[in-house]
């Protein structure tokens, strides 16, 4: 008899339990619903961290399981944020404009309202007309569809172009990085229609919601936790089935899988597009909590940090990605926020604001060199699971194919 999905993946249940416990604990301790031990801004940080964990799960799926080192997933994340940000900004501005116009002698016509919204939003880039891409900004439903559709389509087209010409390995990484750079540069322009380097702002205010930020931050925490839980289950389900075996096969030896008759391109494209959509949803939940989005967020460096998180957490295991994203991004906030105590060496004081990046870079190199399993590898020690010692022989005929140690997950 087939064992059930949960029985095959006990770790999913553990993860969901921890996630629910965490969410309940934060809710109880929050200012909005509980005893007020955790400040609202920290609740937001935690909520944002959950979104980052979700995109890390997506990254793990595409890199850790399929072997595509995409340096472009933060572009999809940002695009998702832009799509939801357009509605938030449009609707909030509309409410303000309607409010102010209602005080005039004559009630405004619909076109006057739209013009006034345009002037409000685009005045900062010296324009007042709505570009074509804002055509659906007045509808929450359509804009929510676009959150998934736009990044998904971009991933589909880009992935189709890249995979069908058999661009693999580091070339693909560089190509995705170039795509991210192109997108960021495009958005930096004032006439891109998304307010250039000003980006979209004021996203933390939900239009029509009178509840305070204390409450709204908890709502978003719940939404992020729910999205992370669902995303995790989806990812776990994908990698546990036949599909998961094929994509792992692609990671370990693409040519062999192709010769076995699988359409490698379709599998890769499916994973790439799906993870892009997950990343976009994570972004759509992240930026209302951050309050502002600008092209700086999409810069290639962000996507590389994403790879860093997943690598430190442990590739090829979903909980590793979540741990990596949570630990590294929270540590980053702690160190760069100036909260970490300075270390005095007598002749020089190490200020963590300045030295955190150096520490991160070096520890990243060390993890890559000495602990390819990342933090997640510690669980193997705990579970007393050992890799068979085959002296690290090659799995495949070439040097470039993965060694036993890495391919095992």
């Amino acid at each position: 008899m087939e064992r059930s999905f949960i029985a095959k993946n006990p770790s999913v249940l553990v993860f969901l339990a921890i996630l629910s416990l965490f969410t309940i604990a934060v809710t109880v301790l929050s200012e909005g619903f509980g005893i007020g031990v955790i400040s609202t801004s920290f609740v937001k940080t935690l909520g944002k961290t959950l979104c980052l964990c979700l995109i890390a799960v997506a990254m793990d799926l595409v890199w850790g399981f399929t072997g595509i080192l995409s340096l472009g997933h933060f572009a999809f994340f940002g695009l998702g944020g832009y799509m939801i940000g357009m509605w938030l900004m449009y609707e909030r501005t509309r409410l303000i404009v309607v409010e102010s116009l209602s005080r005039a002698d004559i009630p405004p016509t619909p076109s006057e309202v739209v013009d006034a919204i345009g002037t409000q939003i685009f005045g900062v880039v010296g324009s007042s007309d709505f570009p074509l891409i804002w055509a659906f900004a007045d509808s929450l439903v359509l804009q929510l569809v676009l959150v998934v559709l736009v990044p998904g389509l971009l991933a589909l087209v880009f992935g189709w172009l890249a995979f069908r010409s058999r661009v693999t390995g580091v070339y693909l990484s560089i190509l995705t990085q170039a795509m991210t750079l192109a997108l960021a540069l495009y958005l930096f322009q004032n006439d891109s229609g998304l307010r250039g380097n000003n980006g979209l702002s004021g996203l933390q205010n939900l239009p029509g919601v009178t509840a305070s930020q204390d409450v709204v931050s908890i709502w978003f925490l719940w939404a992020s936790a729910l999205a992370l839980g669902l995303g995790y289950i989806l990812a776990a389900w994908i990698v546990s089935g036949k599909f998961g075996l094929v994509i792992r096969g692609i990671r370990d030896n693409e040519a062999r899988v192709r010769f076995l008759g699988y359409s490698v391109e379709v599998y890769k494209l499916a994973v790439f597009t799906l993870t892009a959509c997950i990343a976009a949803i994570a972004g759509a939940l992240y930026y209302p909590q951050a309050g502002i989005i600008n092209p700086e967020e999409i810069a290639p460096i962000a996507s590389i940090y994403l790879a860093v998180w997943v690598a430190i957490g442990g590739r090829g295991r979903l909980y590793g990605a979540v741990i990596g994203a949570a630990v590294v991004s929270l540590l980053s906030t702690w160190f760069t926020g100036g909260q970490a105590p300075d270390i005095s060496l007598g002749f020089y004081t190490i200020k963590w604001v300045d030295w955190w990046q150096v520490l991160l870079g070096v520890s990243f190199v060390l993890v890559t060199l000495f602990a390819p399993q990342g933090i997640g590898g510690l669980f193997d020690l705990w579970a007393n699971r050992r890799h068979p010692d085959r002296h690290g022989t090659n799995l495949g005929p070439d040097d470039s194919s993965l060694r036993e140690k890495e391919a095992l997950e």
Binding site: G67, D105, A307, V358, L402, R403
Partner: protein, 650 residues
Amino acid sequence: MLRLFLASLAILCACLTANAQETGLQPILQAHQDIIAKSSRKTIGPAIDAIAASDLPQAQVMLETWAAKDMWMRKSDGLFFAGKKAEGRSYELIDFDTGEVVGTYQKSDLKQLKPNSGIRAMIGTALVTFQLTDPNRDKRLAALQSIQRDPEAALLAPLRASIDGEPDAALKAQKQRLERLLSIGFDEDTTARVAAITDMSGDLGVDVRAALNPLVVTTRQVAVELPGNANIAAILKPGSEALTRDAAYDLLVANELAAPRVSADDIRAALAANIEGGRVGDVPVAQLDSDAKRVQAYSVLAEAGTVPAFITPADVDAALGAHVFFEVFSEPSAEVTAAAEKALERIELKVGLNQTLDLSLDAISLASIYFLAAIGLAITFGVMGVINMAHGEFIMMGAYTGYVVQQFIPDHTLSIIVAIPMAFAVTFAMGVAMERLVIRWLYARPLETLLATFGISIALQQLAKNIFGTQARPLTAPGWLDGAWVLNDVVSISYIRIAIFVLAMIFLGLFLYIMKRTRLGLEMRAVTQNPRMAGSMGINPGRVNMLTFGLGSGIAGIAGVAIGLFAKVTSDLGSDYIVQSFMTVVVGGVGNIWGALAGAGMIGGLQKGIEWMNPSNTLAAQTYMIVFIIIFIQFRPRGIIALKGRAAGD
């Protein structure tokens, strides 16, 4: 005997001066005493003309004194003198004609002449006439430049007169050129102007276009009938592409030949002004939130006569039909405008060709920058297959090395000469260390090399920030690299870019020499193709890899010095180039230096080409370029120059 002669000469001179005094400047000044004393821009003209026309040498001194507000009038007799401040509140007066001191007077007995800026400009024009024939070359040059800045009809005659007497050949040529330009604008004879235009029609100078362009300036006009005497450029038909119906009607409104249309804002304002008891023209105010209702309410008001009526399309048709629209040259002579248009057309073509040349030079220079940044990568990535994301940081380290060297060696030329080997040494050492400590262990795992070197890259960037701060550091080029090689007014290229091009070519040669002619190059190629076989031939692959990586890194350091000369040296310097560098290598074809060259040429040319089409927007140019590259990779996944056979294996 000689003394006697000199004495008589002195007497003769004195007599001559005395003679000049009678017919000198003072009588002219006295003739215009009123208007000079009044100092009004409108009336001063004849006085300045008379002074300039006197052709007296002292007139120049007098005009200069006047412009400097040092001319005084003696109140007792109204005579003008140059004043020089003496003790207290008294002034020493000097006669213009004789140059002798007349005496010292109290300020209360004198009146200072203070010409305003308008008058000083007129005095300046009059002075140019004198300066054009001044014995001092610098003054003549200054006068020419002043004419160039501010050409005027009055200057044409003195300029022409001064050409023949000009001893300096270069100045003479300049004067002749300026005379042609002034003739275009100001000669009274139309044939002479046309001749001048034809003479200059092959010239690329900006000044020629500046002289010709005002001649073909047109203004758009409207009238009931076409005026017979105007120099008409074109007759416009409303509704055509050149003149839309809206624009035509607006022109009529602007000329008060038709009533203005009622805009949405007008309607709104009119309605707001005519609210009566919550209704406007029988429509409740609350219903006025659509255009149809507003128009309805407004029509009621218009019928009542409270507001101006709507302009119907029929009104517009009638108004447009009743008038003729045309463009008029501000220059009255048709022959001149025709010649000018023809000349401008010829110049435009020539300018276009030269701009293409200029653009190609720009593209080559950009390509050589990319090539320089990428050549190190062509070794580490192209030959060894190692992805080094810290390559940009090696460029940055090279630039900072140059900066540090300049702190110790103030002479810029010497410091650059020292900085180049220093930068090579620093980055070579860094590259060797990195290869030994990190990359060596990851040869079998290319993706992880990418990540590990990226970790090094962020650590190095932050270290640079901690050491040098976030502000840009200057790396000053030696003086002989300042300036530009100017071919004409359109084509020019700065020396620093030429130097970078030369440097890129030197590196190309160096690379080829090392790879093809040295033992190290041979071993490098052997190790790259088959490390085990090379090892069994007695080559130490570890050592060769280390040296190869060091070489690539060292070249990146030198590139950093060159890039630092024209870009700001900041900790982000490298990351600005890293993606382009990888693109260059990937597009060109991995493992082939000619590929990198072709890739750099293509990317540089493309970027400049796109910038030319959309000049205001370099961001867009980069975006489109990257998109183009992504598409290009579709068709040639292995780059422009792809390796074939076994060497091309993954």
